[in-house]
């Protein structure tokens, strides 16, 4: 069966877009083929800086013919209906239709529409231009006088179709003046001449001869293997870097790995700074000396040409740029160490954190205060935590971090160590940003924990106050990550830390609530509020909790009962934590409905307890006792719901002992009386296993109750009393979770 070979040859495609583009091309073309009834055996896409390539293997030579019967109107139907039918079936007159008889509907017309399959090349000639014109580049452009958009100017299109044994044909089409052909071009510098191609096999071979490695994975393999070999020759280890490898494989068609050196003096700069400098600016790899475990004064560069002089000039040129960059880095490193971290803090007052959230200075003050408040709860020294929080951000003002933002935190640790600050402070500088991603370390030292929590909570609260919450896929301030960070720090360290008071406390300084707490009259007049309250933002928030009394000259407002700005924000944020906790627990195999069931109770803000409760509940529901009790609970609640609705009344226990007549209901009432305090008591000492065990005692009496007792007794007193008893079942589970939210 024939194969398709398609190559889109252009000016240099940005490295970061290449892999995705190759995959998009494969998917778009093969989907379009399948949609048109052209099934294939296999497809593979390739990409280099200058070409997107797709090979589709084992296509039919043409589409199969199709035959479709179209049912028409009755014989003798009005002319309009007949004409419509002729048009839709593509018939010239009704004689071309046949007549079929149906015992119920009578005689009606049927047209047979036969569509002969088209030759595959014809279909491809239609598909490819459409795909090229609407290709999903993240950013595309026009060039010259044309209107076609591509990632960079598109120069030629190769498109052949045929079997191994025949000479493949060129599938002819034209896109904005570019006519398809069987011609491609070799390496820009090493073999730029046109090359005539038949199909994938000779395409790959001829391009290889013309110094183009078409397969990106092969280029990566070559780079990695050669880089490791070259390192080995020099007695060094390559510092592997997958992201950098990906990028450089997208910058070359003919990778040539070379090694260069820089002055040993530069090794006085921290390894991470050297690596960041060489990686970011030059896209070169660094090497480690296995004897010292530190970086060596060498770098590996990937050239796109095999130079006439063996690469001597290329190495010299790259070395020169690297030296200049390292000189800058060394200058930054030396400059930074002339000052102290704490000496920089004053400048934060004039650095804006966010235009609605004030300066970095104000933010740091808040974080320090919050860290101090958290400290005793996590076993840290409050004064040390506050100081660590102030120092933690100071490296943002250093030259090195200004140049390489990804080194924030790490540089703080270096500088703190250099200044001889307490080790806890140095550690907190680096660790308070953690955990950044799922594989990142979670801080475990008490001071680091306090600062990390304070930092994340302040961020969350701040953006919550200005209503910049994450929506859908948009989370520009990484608030989901911050919330997850809090969750992981709390859980991994087994911290008992009720969140709500912390959130309220963190919100207050942002809202400036302290101000009008001491000037209570201000909040009762909107006019005064406008003057006193610093921003529109606060007014907006105030409107949410203040009731306006219309009609008065000076609008009079009063505070909504029980509401405060900070409480409002904190509760909303707590719901966000619940969402993130749910996601987090689900990823670890917990049932999301159980998380909901526990959050369904009031005032659940202790993450660790919530998790323990969910775990105990999940274990309980896996037992026979648990399953049966849940079934009994549901039956009880269903009956209650129906009867309460019917009566328009809500029944609440306890049941009246005088009206307990059946032994089964007596036993149940007695058991509830025993179990309820046990559950409450077990929950109070946070022993959820014991709480579940106590609850399990209800199982047998509930079962028997439903077997032996009719709830809807004819005597109203008995009925109402039994409904109250059912409510007791509901109430006793409430100490553990909202069982209504349990699924399955």
């Amino acid at each position: 069966m024939p194969d398709l070979l398609l190559e889109l040859f252009s000016e240099e495609i940005p490295a970061r877009m290449q892999a995705q583009a190759a995959e998009a091309l494969r998917k778009l073309v093969t989907d379009a083929l399948v949609e048109r009834g052209l099934l294939y055996e296999g497809a593979k896409a390739f990409v280099t800086p200058r070409r997107l390539v797709l090979a589709v293997h084992g296509l039919p030579g043409r589409q199969s013919d199709t035959r479709e019967e179209k049912k028409g109107p009755r014989v003798g139907a009005p002319d309009g209906a007949i004409q419509g039918f002729l048009k839709s079936a593509g018939l010239a007159s009704i004689d071309q239709a046949s007549i079929q008889s149906d015992p119920k509907k009578g005689d009606f017309y049927v047209a047979v529409v036969e569509r002969p399959g088209r030759p595959t090349p014809e279909v491809i000639a239609e598909i490819v231009p459409q795909i090229v014109r609407s290709f999903p580049w993240p950013k595309s452009m026009r060039w010259g006088s044309g209107s076609l958009r591509w990632v960079r100017p598109l120069h030629s299109i190769l498109c052949t179709f045929g079997t191994e044994v025949e000479d493949p044909e060129v599938i002819g089409f034209e896109i904005d003046g570019i006519v398809s052909s069987d011609i491609t071009y070799g390496h820009r510098f090493l073999a730029p001449a046109p090359i005539k191609v038949r199909r994938l096999e000779d395409y790959l071979a001829k391009l290889e001869a013309a110094k183009v490695v078409v397969d990106r994975d092969r280029r990566k393999d070559i780079i990695l293997a050669d880089a490791k070999d070259l390192a080995l020759v020099h007695g060094l280890d390559l510092v592997e870097d997958e992201a950098l490898l990906e990028e450089v494989a997208g910058l070359v068609e003919w990778p040539v790995v070379l090694i260069g050196a820089f002055e040993e003096d530069f090794l006085s700069i921290p390894d991470e700074v050297i690596r960041a400098t060489i990686r970011a600016n030059q896209k070169c790899f660094v090497l480690k000396d296995p004897k010292t475990g530190r970086l060596a004064n060498r770098f590996i560069l990937i050239s796109n040409i095999a130079a006439r002089d063996g690469g001597a000039q290329i190495i010299a040129g790259n070395g020169r740029v690297i030296r200049a960059r390292l000189s800058d880095a060394k200058f930054f490193w030396d400059t930074d160490r002339k000052g102290t971290l704490e000496g920089r803090l004053g400048k934060f007052d004039s650095v804006t954190f966010h235009e609605k959230l004030g300066s970095q200075g104000a933010r740091i003050t808040r974080i320090a205060r919050l860290a101090q408040e958290i400290a005793p709860q996590v076993g840290a020294d409050p004064a040390l935590a506050a100081r660590a929080a102030r120092v933690a951000k100071a490296d943002l003002l250093t030259e090195v971090v200004g140049e390489f933002p990804e080194l924030q935190g790490l540089m703080g640790r270096y500088y703190a160590q250099g200044e001889g600050l307490p080790a806890e402070i140095a550690a907190a500088s680096e660790d308070h940003y953690k955990p950044q991603g799922p594989s990142d370390r979670v801080p475990a030292a008490p001071v680091s924990i306090a600062v990390a929590l304070a930092d994340k909570i302040d961020t969350l609260v701040g953006f919550w106050v200005i209503d910049e919450k994450p929506t859908g896929s948009k989370d520009p301030y990484a608030l989901r990550r911050a919330a997850l960070g809090v969750i992981r720090i709390v859980l991994d360290n087994n911290l008992r830390l009720p969140l709500l008071p912390l959130l309220v406390s963190a919100t207050r300084p942002i809202l400036g609530e302290a101000h009008y707490a001491s000037h209570p009259h201000d909040v009762f007049q909107v006019g005064a509020l406008a003057d006193k309250v610093v921003s529109d933002l606060l007014q907006g928030l105030a409107r949410r909790i203040l009731k306006l009394t219309p009609g008065a000259d000076v609008p009079v407002v009063e505070r909504t009962e029980g509401q405060t700005l900070s409480g409002d924000v904190a509760r909303d944020l707590l719901a966000f934590f619940a969402e993130r906790l749910k996601v987090h627990m689900r990823e670890r195999g917990a049932r999301h409905d159980l998380v909901d069931a526990v959050f369904g109770l009031e005032n659940q803000d202790d993450l660790l307890l919530i998790v323990r409760r969910v775990e105990a509940l999940q274990r309980f529901l896996e037992t026979e006792d648990g399953k049966t009790l849940l079934a009994g609970y549901r039956r009880a609640v269903n009956i209650l719901r129906i009867e309460e609705k019917k009566d328009g009344e809500r029944y609440e226990g306890p049941a009246d002992a005088r009206f307990l007549v059946e032994p089964a209901e007596e036993r149940l009432a007695a058991m509830i009386e025993t179990v309820k305090p046990q559950v409450v008591e077990a929950v109070a000492r946070e022993d959820y296993a014991a709480a579940m065990a106590a609850l399990a005692h209800l199982r047998a009496p509930v079962d028997t109750f439903f077997e032996a007792v009719t709830v809807n007794a004819s005597e109203p007193q008995l009925r109402i009393n039994r409904l109250k008893l059912l409510d007791e079942i509901r109430a006793s589970t409430r100490a553990i979770a909202d069982f209504d939210r349990i699924e399955g």
């Binding site: 130079a307 290329i314 010299a316 790259n318 804006t352 235009e355």
Partner: protein, 310 residues
């Protein structure tokens, strides 16, 4: 390949001015009008009306010129071997961008002595955007052995208007290129006139004193009250000239108005270097300049050179 007929003091790998002349010669051969620098202070060659304004409208255009560029913030008191607050850009604009623009660019490198059989020339993604000009384009920074030597852009939008046809813009950092081909590590050591011995004039002879003086000016002494006032004046004048030039379907004073936009932009750069513009204000200044640029672009499109029909 460097023209072998050149006397040694004119060789682009021996003389800074030789490099510049070689590029002018090369692009003159491609049909460019070789212009002289614009007679105003600008931050980059793109600001020259021969690029900004000529990139707009349907008319074809090919130009090349050297543009002294001022970046007040980049001053280093003459102490940094690579950074200058005043340097030269060589600017080429071809409208519409020809199909062989990359090839032309590589041939221009060959003309100044960069042999692609020995040097690793690369096109590395770099999307260009000028927030003050309301302009953006896609292209690359061109690397020679790991050093950025040029900027290569296909203009998509200028002054907020779509470019059709699209212009191809090449910007060569002349000092960097010269340092590379001359093999010097310090910009001030560049041989300017290609002579040797007592006759030799270096880049430092020409510019070192100026770098020191202007660094003092840009960072310490530039009169900020005056500059704030100049910004306001330029902004107001630009709006005034734009209004005065309105003549129905045509505009009669697009270029004088655009001069005021250039002025405002440079004054803003000076204020920025003096550190008297806060982060929030910075954005609003940029937007104000962009508004001027947009007005000038719209006016230009109503002129003959901007393609308006009578």
């Amino acid at each position: 390949m460097i023209d072998p007929a050149l006397p040694s003091h004119m060789r682009p790998d021996r003389s800074f001015q030789g490099l510049l002349l070689a590029l002018q010669r090369f692009w003159a051969d491609q049909g460019c009008v070789v212009l002289q620098p614009y007679d105003m202070e600008v931050g980059a060659g793109t600001f020259h009306p021969a690029t900004t304004l000529r990139a707009l409208g349907p008319k074809h255009w090919r130009a090349a010129y050297v543009q002294p560029s001022r970046r007040p913030k980049d001053g280093r008191y003459g102490e940094n071997p690579n950074r200058l607050q005043h340097y030269y850009q060589f600017q080429v604009i071809l409208k519409p961008s020809p199909d062989d623009l990359q090839d032309l660019y590589l041939r221009s490198l060959a003309a100044i002595g960069i042999d692609t059989a020995l040097h690793d020339v690369r096109f590395v993604e770099d999307d260009w955007e000028s927030p003050t000009l309301g302009a953006w384009g896609l292209g690359w920074e061109c690397w020679c052995d790991g050093m950025e030597v040029s900027q290569f852009t296909y203009f998509q939008q200028v002054a907020g208007f779509e470019c059709a046809p699209v212009s191809g813009e090449l910007t060569y950092g002349l000092e960097r290129l010269a340092m590379y081909v001359q093999g010097v590590e310090n910009v001030y050591d560049l041989n300017f006139n290609g002579r040797e011995g007592a006759e030799k004039t270096t880049y430092g002879d020409v510019f070192l004193q100026a770098e020191k003086e202007y660094s003092r000016h840009n960072f310490e002494h530039a009169d900020t009250d005056m500059l704030f006032e100049q910004f306001r004046m330029a902004e107001a004048a630009c709006a005034k000239y734009l209004a005065a030039g309105e003549a129905g379907a045509r505009h009669l004073m697009a270029q004088p108005a655009y001069d005021q936009c250039i002025k405002a932009s440079h004054v803003f750069n000076l204020l920025d270097a003096r550190g008297v513009i806060s982060v929030t204000e910075r954005q609003s200044y940029i937007l104000r300049v962009r508004e001027l640029a947009k007005g000038c672009g719209a006016a230009w499109l109503k002129t003959e050179a901007g393609g308006a029909t009578a």
